[in-house]
C-alpha cells in the first residue's frame, strides 16, 4: 500500500530521528563518563595536594611522621572522602572511618576504580616526601548521570519521534504544495486548453526549475500539435481547389455531345473518383478537427429511429448483390441527443462496413435498447471474425485489419465514426466478434428528462 508522499517523508524522518536518538547515548555516555572521571581525578589529586601540604607543615613542626593522625587533621571539606595515609615504611598513620570493607593494603600510585562498601569508588594514590595518600570518593554522581541520560533518551525517543513525524508532514506538505498546484494545472492543460501553463513560483528552487522545464515541454508539444493540425487542415483546404477544378472540368467534358459511350463511361468513373477524393479530404479535415478538439457538433433532440430506418434502407440496397438479409427491431420512437448530420455519417459508415465485410447470403441485425440514460444501437453482421488483436486496431486510421486489406474504402470509416460518437459524449465499440457475428455498439446519450 502506498501512502501520500508527505506521510512517507514524515514517517522516514521519524524513523531516522528515532534511530539517531537510540544511537546517540551510546556515543555520548562514554564521552561524558570519561570527561567527568578525569575532572574527578584532578579534583582528587588537588585534595591530596592539600593534605600533603598539611603533612609537610606538620613535619616542619617536628612532629614524628609515624605518629597516627586524628580526624581533626583532615580539612572539613574532605571529611566525606575515603582517605588512607601511610608513610614510607608502610605503616598506616590515618584511615577514615568510612574506609571499610575494603582491604586496607597500600595501593600502588595511580588511579583506580575499586569497590568499597559495595559501591564503585574512584581512588587516587599519590606519594610525596615519603608520605602516601589514597583518597577516594563514590562514583555515585557520575553513575547517576549515566542512568539519567539513559532515562532521558528513552523518554525523549517516542516524544521526539511523534514531533518529528508531525513536523516533517507539515514541512513536506508545505514543500509539496507547489507540486499539487502543478498537478492541478497540468490536468487543465488539454486539447481544449492548450494555452494553459503550470504556475511558476518565484522561489529559485527545484520546483521553479521543474515548472519552467515542463512549461517549455508543453510549449513544444503545443507547437507540434498545432503544426500537425494546421497541416491537415491546410492540406485538405488546399486540395479542395484542384478538386473543384477537376470536377468542374470533368462534368463539362461529360456534357459534350461528341463523346463516345466508352469515353463517357471513363469520364463518369473519373468524376466518381474525384468525388471520393473530396469525401476523403472532408474526412481528413474532420479528423484534424477532432484531434484539435474543435469538432463542430450541434446536438439536438433527435428521434434516432427514422435515421436507423434510413440506414436499414441503405444496407438493403448496398447488399442487394450479396443477397444480404436485414433484420431489425426498433421501438416506434427513441429520442437521443445528437447532431443529425454527424450521426448520419456514423450510421452510413457502420452500415457500409456491415455490408462490405459480410459474406454472400449473409445477415445483418440492427436493434436499439436503452440502458442507464443511454441508447445503445447494435449493428451485428455475419462475416469474417475480427481477431482480438485487431479489436482496437480497426478503429485506427487507414487500418482495415487482416481481413479487409483488399476491400474498397479508405480505412477511415470506423475511426471517424468513433470520433463522432465520442464527440457526442457517447462511444463506438466492438461488442463481440466470433465466427457467427461481428457486433458493433454505438452508444449515444438519451435526451435528458425535463426537470
Amino acid at each position: 500500500m502506498r501512502f501520500p508522499l508527505k506521510f512517507q517523508v514524515g514517517l522516514y524522518a521519524a524513523i531516522v530521528s528515532a534511530i539517531a536518538l537510540a544511537i546517540m547515548p551510546t556515543i555520548i555516555r562514554p564521552f561524558i563518563y570519561h570527561q567527568q572521571l578525569s575532572e574527578l581525578d584532578s579534583e582528587l589529586k588537588l585534595n591530596a595536594e592539600d593534605i600533603f601540604e598539611d603533612l609537610i607543615a606538620r613535619s616542619a613542626k617536628g612532629i614524628d611522621a609515624r605518629r597516627p593522625l586524628t580526624r581533626d587533621f583532615i580539612p572539613q571539606y574532605l571529611k566525606l572522602r575515603f582517605i588512607r595515609i601511610w608513610n614510607s615504611d608502610g605503616s598506616e598513620i590515618y584511615r577514615s572511618s568510612n574506609w571499610k570493607d575494603f582491604e586496607p593494603r597500600n595501593l600502588p600510585p595511580g588511579l583506580k576504580t575499586v569497590v568499597i562498601l559495595g559501591r564503585n569508588c574512584r581512588v587516587a594514590t599519590l606519594e610525596k616526601d615519603n608520605f602516601w595518600i589514597s583518597i577516594g570518593t563514590k562514583l555515585g554522581t557520575i553513575e547517576g548521570m549515566q542512568t539519567d541520560l539513559n532515562f532521558a533518551f528513552t523518554v525523549a525517543l517516542p516524544i521526539v519521534s511523534v514531533l518529528v513525524l508531525a513536523g516533517a508532514i507539515w514541512v513536506a506538505r508545505r514543500a509539496l504544495r507547489p507540486i499539487a498546484d502543478m498537478t492541478a494545472a497540468a490536468e487543465r492543460i488539454s486539447v481544449k486548453h492548450p494555452k494553459e501553463r503550470l504556475p511558476v513560483p518565484d522561489t529559485s528552487d527545484e520546483i521553479e526549475r521543474l515548472s519552467r522545464v515542463l512549461n517549455a515541454s508543453f510549449d513544444r508539444l503545443e507547437m507540434a500539435y498545432s503544426a500537425s493540425e494546421r497541416f491537415s487542415s491546410a492540406a485538405s483546404h488546399q486540395l479542395k481547389t484542384p478538386l473543384t477544378i477537376l470536377r468542374a472540368g470533368l462534368s463539362e467534358l461529360r456534357g459534350c455531345d461528341y463523346l463516345q459511350p466508352a469515353e463517357r463511361e471513363t469520364v463518369e468513373s473519373l468524376l466518381q473518383q474525384t468525388r471520393r477524393l473530396t469525401t476523403m479530404c472532408e474526412d481528413l479535415l474532420l479528423l484534424a478537427q477532432a484531434d484539435a478538439g474543435h469538432l463542430d457538433i450541434r446536438p439536438e433532440a433527435l428521434d434516432i429511429v427514422p435515421a436507423l430506418r434510413s440506414a436499414v434502407d441503405d444496407m438493403e440496397v448496398l447488399g442487394i448483390n450479396q443477397n444480404i438479409k436485414i433484420q431489425h427491431d426498433f421501438p416506434p420512437t427513441l429520442v437521443v441527443t445528437a447532431d443529425p448530420r454527424r450521426i448520419a455519417i456514423v450510421l452510413q459508415n457502420l452500415g457500409e462496413n456491415a455490408v462490405k465485410y459480410n459474406r454472400r447470403d449473409g445477415s445483418i441485425r440492427i436493434s436499439i435498447r436503452e440502458e442507464k440514460e443511454r441508447a445503445i444501437i447494435s449493428i451485428a453482421s455475419t462475416g469474417p471474425c475480427i481477431v482480438p488483436e485487431d479489436a482496437e486496431r480497426i478503429f485506427e486510421r487507414f487500418n482495415r485489419g487482416a481481413t479487409g486489406e483488399n476491400l474498397k474504402g479508405h480505412g477511415l470509416g470506423l475511426s471517424i465514426a468513433r470520433e463522432l460518437a465520442r464527440a457526442h459524449g457517447g462511444d463506438l465499440r466492438l461488442a463481440r466478434s466470433d465466427e457467427n457475428w461481428t457486433e458493433f455498439e454505438l452508444v449515444l446519450p438519451l435526451v435528458p428528462p425535463l426537470t
Binding site: 483546404h237 479542395k240 481547389t241 478538386l243 473543384t244 477544378i245 477537376l246 470536377r247 468542374a248 472540368g249 462534368s251 463539362e252 461529360r254 456534357g255 463517357r264 468524376l271 466518381q272 474525384t274 468525388r275 471520393r276 473530396t278 469525401t279 472532408e282 479535415l285 474532420l286 478537427q289 463542430d296 427514422p306 430506418r309 434510413s310 434502407d313 441503405d314 440496397v317 448496398l318 442487394i320 448530420r341 448520419a344 455519417i345 452510413q348 457500409e352 462490405k356 474498397k408 474504402g409 470509416g413
Partner: protein, 227 residues
C-alpha cells in the same frame, strides 16, 4: 443574365465562366474582394457568384459592404463545406443562396436558374402536388391519385427531391450528395436501384414512367406521365 464571377482561383473562374456562357449568360470575372466590390457598385449585375475565400477582402466582407450600401444584387456564395456555419446556412450573411466546394457544375447551373427565376423556385410547403402525386412532408405520406404509396425513408427522400423541382434533371451525383451528403462508398448504382424501386412503387402496374432516365445525364420527374 449578366453574371459576375468572383473567384481568385483562375482555373475555377474559367470553368464557371465557360459553363455560364454555354448556358447563354454574359460573364465577367474578378479575382479579389476589393475589385469585386467596386465592379458591383459601378455596374449592374443580375447575379454575383462570390467565393468566400478571397484575397484583400473576403466574401462575407464584400457582401456586408454591399448590403450596407443598400445594394441588393443577388449573390450566390461559394464556400468550403466545413465552414458552412449558421451564418452561411441561415443566409444571415445576406446571400441569396450558397453552394459548398467542390460542387457539381450542374447544380450550380440549376441554382442559378432558380435565382434568375428561369425555373420556378422549389416547392417548399408541407404538402406538394405534382400531377396526381401528393406528398405530405410532415406526415411522411405519399399518395397517388388518392391511393397511399408505401415508401421507405430513402425512397421518400428521393421522391421529395424530384417533387420539389419537377421538370428539372438531376444527375446521379447530385442525388447522391443530396441524400447522403457525401460520396457513397459504393457507386451511383445505389441511386439507380433506389430509382428502380421508387418507379415500381409509383407505377402500380401501369405501363408508364413518372421518372424518366435522361441517358448520360440523370433523372427527371414529369408532371404528366410519359410512356
Amino acid at each position: 443574365m449578366r453574371i459576375l464571377v468572383v473567384e481568385d482561383e483562375e482555373k475555377i473562374a474559367i470553368l464557371i465562366s465557360r459553363a455560364l456562357q454555354k448556358a447563354g449568360h454574359s460573364v465577367e470575372t474578378r479575382s479579389d474582394g476589393a475589385l469585386a466590390l467596386s465592379a458591383i457598385m459601378g455596374n449592374h449585375f443580375d447575379l454575383v457568384i462570390l467565393d468566400v475565400n478571397l484575397p484583400v477582402m473576403d466574401g462575407f466582407a464584400v457582401l456586408q459592404k454591399l448590403r450596407e450600401a443598400r445594394n441588393h444584387t443577388r449573390v450566390l456564395l461559394l464556400t468550403a463545406r466545413d465552414s458552412v456555419s449558421d451564418r452561411v446556412s441561415g443566409l444571415r450573411s445576406g446571400a441569396d443562396d450558397y453552394l459548398t466546394k467542390p460542387f457539381a457544375m450542374e447544380e450550380l447551373m440549376a441554382r442559378i436558374d432558380v435565382i434568375g427565376r428561369r425555373a420556378p423556385s422549389p416547392n417548399q410547403g408541407d404538402i406538394i402536388d405534382v400531377g396526381d402525386l401528393r406528398m405530405d412532408i410532415r406526415k411522411h405520406r405519399v399518395t397517388r391519385a388518392g391511393a397511399l404509396v408505401d415508401l421507405s425513408p430513402r425512397e421518400f427522400e428521393l421522391l421529395q427531391i424530384f417533387m420539389q423541382e419537377p421538370g428539372r434533371t438531376f444527375t446521379r451525383e447530385e442525388i447522391c450528395e443530396r441524400i447522403w451528403e457525401r460520396e457513397h462508398e459504393y457507386d451511383t448504382r445505389t441511386v439507380e436501384i433506389f430509382i428502380m424501386r421508387l418507379r415500381k412503387k409509383l407505377s402500380d402496374g401501369r405501363d408508364e414512367t413518372l421518372i424518366e432516365t435522361i441517358r448520360g445525364v440523370g433523372y427527371v420527374l414529369h408532371r404528366v406521365p410519359g410512356h
